[in-house]
């Protein structure tokens, strides 16, 4: 048996050494981590407009340099509030998002706030004269949160593309919203309004789409996740409607 003093001395020394090593390593790698995270998030945005970037382009396989240059040259980032008014980058920074751009807005944090206090990122992609608006949405799946980006044409009704991700949906079932490219592809060309002009968003229909205008096929065995996607699209895109209205007027 060692004396108490020895034990305390040993534990304290070990803690200090370990803390020093780990904090040095974490600080040293921070710039690389931040860069990786930024590129990861940018790729998720680009995943919604894959079809516009060229044939057979996979956003997650794009080289890092290309992702950054697309963002620099072709994408304008805007942050808006629930009324559709733009929020200045100082204001965004004041809300705790360092950098103040749309890409820095953390939808996970925003989702916890009451709707009227939230801010929303918008990425406007310039496709040679035509603007495509990419909006971020977030909702709940079966086990945990799901989120995604939806790209809309400048008629604010037709979907150009969508991409989804999730925290912990079942692999092979709910996780197909991310893993199965065929599920994402279905959203291309869908309208978020029915033939009479009522807002419907896009509905993921169990047993197969009935109204091809605004419905897509569900995933068998993943009804709850699919319903989550429907809900997320319905509420998520609606938050952007006031902003779209201001754009339509101008």
């Amino acid at each position: 048996m060692r004396s108490n003093n020895y034990v305390i001395g040993f534990v304290v020394t070990m803690t200090v050494v370990v803390a020093l090593v780990l904090s040095l390593m974490a600080t040293g790698l921070k710039p690389i981590h931040d860069r990786n995270e930024a590129i990861f998030n940018k790729k998720a945005v680009l995943a919604a407009i894959e079809s516009e970037l060229g044939e057979n382009v996979k956003a997650d396989k794009l080289p890092d340099g290309e992702v950054l240059s697309i963002f620099d040259e072709k994408i304008v980032q805007t942050v808006i509030d629930i009324k559709g008014n733009p929020v200045s980058s100082e204001e965004v920074e004041a809300r705790g998002y360092k950098g103040g751009l749309a890409e820095h807005v953390d939808m996970k944090k925003e989702k916890k706030k009451p709707a009227e206090d939230r801010i929303f990122p918008v990425f406007t992609y310039d496709n040679g004269g035509e603007s495509i608006y990419i909006v971020s949405i977030r909702g709940n799946g079966l086990w945990d949160e799901i989120w995604g980006n939806v790209a809309l044409k400048d008629d604010f009704a037709t979907i150009v593309g969508a991409s989804f991700d999730h925290q912990g949906e079942t692999p092979g079932l709910g996780a197909e919203i991310k893993d199965n490219p065929a599920f994402k592809r279905q959203f291309q060309g869908k309208s978020i309004y029915d033939a009479d002009g009522n807002y419907t968003s896009v509905v993921v229909r169990k047993g197969g789409a009935r109204n091809t205008r605004y419905e897509v096929d569900g995933i068998s065995g993943a009804t709850v996740t699919a319903d989550g996607v429907s809900d997320m699209l319905h509420t998520g895109i609606r938050y952007y409607q006031p902003y779209f209205k201001t754009l339509k007027k101008s």
Partner: protein, 237 residues
Amino acid sequence: MAETTIEKKEPIFAFGKKERKLLTDPLNDNNPITVQVLGICSALAVTTLLFPSIIISIAVIFVCAFSNLFTSLLRKSIPKQVRMIVQLVIIATLVTVVELTLKALDYPTYKQLSVFIGLIITNCIVMGRLEAFAMANSPWKSFLDGVGNGVGYGVILIAVAFFREVFGKGTFLAGTPFEVKIIGPNSEYLINTMADGSWFSWYQNNNLMVLPAAAMFLIAIMIWIHRAWNPKLVDIS
């Protein structure tokens, strides 16, 4: 009459029969998964795809080897009263090192594995080897023992993941540049089950394979085969 035994001083990095046994034993007679049935939880959780399983295996080999090494180096100065906590701190430190490195090298995989890297801390194989081996053996031997057990774990993990990915998703090494799409319902796959006159039109990917239950069956089958092939194991239990 005093008996004098002249102890032959062994070189620090000896690599003889005993050392080789430290590496090969966990692959067969003492495999951590199929014989000791340790570390099952992570074997069920991460093995849906081959690539993440390979990453986890490398991480476990690293953590196992170096935690064994450091524990063995410190074994004479670690106070017995707090030895488990000290071992845990060593493991946790190494796991954090792995996590920070992976986050810098391959961010998408880091995101995909999320909590499972951190859960290596609770992998009973690591702690088990520290208690059973590193606390009583020299650093070099402990290091080899750690590598051996890590590899023994990794081999099973990768084998399970191979079957789960091929039969569950019809792909091989998905998510890497070496991805091969083997069998599936469109022309991107080598065997297109939807093609006209395809011999495989009856085939569907097995959704059970991507659920943890499939890993349970696969590991059980591996234990069965292992025991049938190595009768020495049957008498142990």
